[in-house]
């Protein structure tokens, strides 16, 4: 029968594996978000400075920029939620499998 200390360690390893994988995806996406946000603000300021847009337009565009950022952060949040869900389920799957194996060994 499996040692429960090993089972516990395997369960933690399975959970952290899921978190690490999704953490990388979220990190890459965050980098893209920051770069796009920076580029977008720079182009907006340039358009305003060059007189291509007025103050009211600039303010409306800045509001939209906030909306985009909010949407992007919601996507990052979805990635995080799925990672947490997968991690919790991977953790319990290992324990469940070990419990079922233990029953098999006893019967």
């Amino acid at each position: 029968m499996a040692d429960w200390k090993d089972v516990w360690n395997d369960a933690v390893k399975a959970a952290t594996g899921k978190l690490k994988s999704a953490g990388g995806d979220a990190h890459e996406y965050m980098k893209d978000i920051v770069a796009a946000h920076k580029k977008s603000l720079a182009s907006l300021l340039a358009a305003f400075t060059d007189g291509k847009i007025d103050q009211a337009t600039m303010e409306a565009e800045l509001e939209d920029e906030q909306r985009v950022l909010k949407a992007e952060l919601l996507a990052v949040q979805a990635i995080g939620k799925k990672a947490a869900q997968d991690a919790a389920n991977a953790f319990f799957d290992v324990i469940e499998t070990a419990a079922l194996k233990g029953i098999g060994g006893l019967l």
Binding site: S40, D64, E65, V68, A71, A75, F92
Partner: protein
Amino acid sequence: MTIRPSTRRLRFAAALFATALALGACKVRLIDSYNRESEEGLLRTYGKIESLFDAMTDATEPGARVYSRFADRYAEIHELIRVQVLREDMRPLNAESRGIVAQIDTVFTRYRADHRKDNGFNPALTDRHRDVMRRLFTAAVKAERAKADSDDRY
């Protein structure tokens, strides 16, 4: 009272069985499952938006920028967005996608209203607005794909 080894074994098996049963019955659910139809709806809508901005970029003369020339495209896209809003609203554990599509709806509604009100648009903003839409739809698709399990294909 001493418990015989065979009884102890049985009790332990029963405890393991209860543990396995409890763990098997309660999967953790924080977010809805991946929905292919939802992703396809987003991509289809985004395709129409790209087409709208292509047409706007091609409208080099001020006379070609009047709202009536684009009204049908706006209406079609807006309808697709509203369907997507409804689709996301109906799904449980879906606050993120619901929030993103709501932002898409708000921003696109403003673009349409401004074009209608001014009966034209500022060409200096066309690329910017296309980029805003691309970023919003990227966020929506990413949020949908985040829900996929390894055996889901998108």
